[in-house]
């Protein structure tokens, strides 16, 4: 069974390019506006889109994504209508790989089996669950393994993962999400002191593309490690930009297409 993430990253690699991934919170500015933003990003050339399912206690997120989550919850966003959003964009012909970034309680409450089936049906391609470390993944992974159309569970690696890296990457699929700095999303671009060494170490072990995330604003931020990584993820900064431009579709498009272009300037 083909997965949109794996297909897309294969193409990116064939072209010898770097992938550009964005994060935005589902349901902002509202469901319709969010749908337009997803489509606009596909047109702008964003390779993969992370859609944050808002949760009341986003413990792995910094203030920007926290605020976006609370705002989205207050506007009625939940897992059910986020799944419907994906189903709708798929029906309308949008094929951009979509990864849900969400907290484990949201899945647990929905029911793990139900959740996996609903993702497969809607067309969700990947999952990032920041509070579900490798040791706690078995229950979810077993359910994912039952269905060929299941999304891929993306593995996160941190600068202090060290001896855990081979275990984390052994069966990893899609891409490896390398947290560039310690702590939470959206910090200034003061990357961890040994970040280059760390990325090199991950890259050595990884059989799949290595993406760097946390605290990236401009293509220049990743210049020093560009040769090592296969792409990067922009989250908090992208949310700030959307907020500044009142979720204007053209502003999003402009940012994404110029970021991706500059990332791949040789």
């Amino acid at each position: 069974m083909k997965n949109r993430i794996e297909e897309k990253l294969k193409m990116v690699k064939e072209k010898q390019e770097k992938a550009f991934i964005t994060y935005m919170t589902a349901g902002l500015p509202d469901m319709e506006g969010c749908k337009q933003l997803i489509k606009a990003q596909e047109e702008a050339g964003t390779d993969i889109l992370e859609l944050g399912i808002p949760f009341s206690d986003p413990v792995a997120d910094g203030p920007v994504i926290q605020a976006a989550s609370y705002k989205s919850i207050s506007r009625g966003t939940n897992l059910k209508n986020s799944l419907e959003l994906v189903e709708t964009v798929r029906k309308e012909g949008c094929d951009i790989p979509i990864v849900f970034m969400m907290y484990f309680n949201t899945i647990l409450y929905f029911g793990i089996g139900n959740f996996v089936n609903a993702c497969a049906k809607a067309g969700v391609d990947g999952l990032i669950v920041p509070d579900l470390p490798f040791e706690e993944q078995k229950q979810l992974q077993d359910e994912l393994d039952k269905n060929q159309q299941s999304p891929i569970l993306i593995q996160l690696v941190s600068p202090v993962s060290k001896d855990r890296i081979p275990m984390l990457l052994e069966n990893a699929r899609g891409f490896v999400y390398c947290v560039s700095s310690m702590g939470v999303t959206g910090q200034a671009a003061e990357f961890h002191k040994d970040v280059l060494n760390y990325l090199t170490e991950v890259k050595k072990v990884s059989k799949i593309p290595v993406m760097m995330g946390f605290g990236i604003r401009t293509p220049k931020d990743v210049l020093p490690m560009k040769e090592v990584i296969d792409g990067c993820i922009v989250g908090s900064h992208f949310i700030n930009l959307l907020e500044e431009h009142q979720y204007d579709v053209n502003a999003a498009k402009e940012y994404c297409s110029s970021f991706r272009k500059e990332l791949n300037d040789r």
């Binding site: 309680n105 920041p130 470390p133």
Partner: protein, 394 residues
């Protein structure tokens, strides 16, 4: 089953960046509690600094009124006014042993914050306490105490601006600073090994109480009870009685305005298993799986979750969990003040209120052993506002 679990509850639901930190902590903790010199140092400070052992007091007038003997384990007489300090001493000694120079803590009512600030001052460590902006308003006295003790109090403005959000913020900070910073968790919650560690450092309550009761009565009590928020005084109070199958164990949660109103803090009564703050346990949630706000007049019980071992003890039936409303707790508080000359914390008054109910079903020769987890000085304003609002004063 992994040792990180109590049945289906517990675990380590934290980000990858904390997994090595937790492993390091677990190793250090397991080594420390096998090390006689560590245990001796812990007991030294409990005796000389905290003032243990605490008395086991037979509440004579209450006993006369209600029938069975009512014994109070006086944790309110500890330095800083509650059982919280027992655990703080243990965790800070461990932090020191691990070479950490800074401690952080979350606090709701401020008792754990004050205890951590106290421990940090005692051992010369830098201390930062995370507290919801709403709680800072409500518990001004404790904010002042923490600052007097040299701690920095950080106001958390996120989510509901209360304990659960302060805990989130402490976890975020920890994930960034674990290299030199030790996170002192105050309740029997959090990722493994925290629930185990908090139990280990609070079990002194039941070890003492059991011995004291045996000396006085020559047998074990029929009933042992304690209030349950996250569950630290209760797990300490139950620990040494868990294997004594003939002893009935009761945990008392806060029913707030009444379970049926939805404004309560009884995770066991109406919660579903969920994950929050690094653990899987019973949790108050809304229809989307978001965490619901708890309500209780007692800030220390105002928590939407409960420690994972309690969830397990409920599931296995070893402990019975019940709940007491704000009103019942305040009536019991008032009664203890007037009949025994003891002003209890509102938290502890919940256990007391249930003891009075339970007493009616017991025989005169039987006994209830109750953990009076803290003193009520910190609650003076809340108590005044409550009783004046009800017209009890003047």
């Amino acid at each position: 089953m992994s040792s990180a679990y109590y049945g289906q509850f517990g675990g380590q639901y934290v980000s990858e960046s904390l997994m090595n930190t937790l492993k390091e902590l677990e190793t250090a903790f397991e080594e420390a509690i096998q090390d006689q010199s560590f245990i001796e140092e812990y007991h030294y400070y409990l005796k000389e600094y905290v003032g243990r052992e605490t008395p086991l007091y037979l509440a004579k007038r209450l006993t006369e009124k209600y029938g069975p003997k009512i014994y109070l384990k006086r944790e309110d007489l500890n330095h800083t006014g509650a059982h919280k300090i027992n655990n703080v001493i243990g965790q800070i000694l461990l932090a020191k042993r691990m070479g950490k120079t800074k401690v952080i803590a979350e606090t709701g009512a401020g008792q754990h914050g004050v205890a951590t600030a106290t421990g940090a001052a005692l051992f010369g460590m830098e201390c930062t306490v995370y507290m919801g902006s709403e709680d800072i308003e409500r518990q001004h006295l404790n904010v002042m105490r923490m600052e007097m003790l040299g701690a920095k109090v950080v106001s958390v403005q996120s989510g509901s601006n209360t304990l659960k959000d302060a805990t989130n913020e402490a976890i975020r900070t920890w994930a960034k600073k674990a290299e030199d910073t030790f996170y002192v968790i105050g309740s029997a919650v959090g990722p493994h090994p925290y629930p185990k560690m908090v139990k280990e450092f609070q079990k002194i309550i039941s070890v003492e109480a059991k011995r004291q009761f045996l000396e006085m009565e020559g047998r074990l009590p029929e009933v042992v009870m304690a209030c349950v928020g996250g569950g630290s005084n209760s797990i300490g109070m139950f620990a040494d009685f868990l294997e004594e199958k003939e002893v009935e164990l009761i945990g008392v949660e806060a029913a707030g305005l009444g379970i049926e109103t939805g404004k309560h803090a009884s995770a066991m009564a109406l919660g579903r298993p969920g994950t929050l703050h690094g653990m899987k346990s019973y949790l108050l949630q809304d229809d989307d799986g978001n965490v619901q706000l708890a309500h209780s007049i007692s800030a220390g019980l105002d928590y939407p979750g409960v420690g994972p071992e309690h969830a397990y003890l409920k599931e296995t039936g070893r402990v019975q969990y019940v709940s007491i409303t704000d009103e019942e707790a305040m009536d019991a508080l008032s009664e203890l003040c007037r009949m025994e000359g003891i002003i209890p914390a509102i938290e502890s008054a919940h256990a007391l209120a249930y003891a009075f109910k339970k007493a009616k079903t017991m025989k005169k020769e039987e006994a209830i052993l109750l953990c009076l987890s803290g003193r009520g000085d910190k609650d003076a304003h809340t108590i005044e506002a409550y009783f004046s609002g009800k017209g009890y004063l003047n």
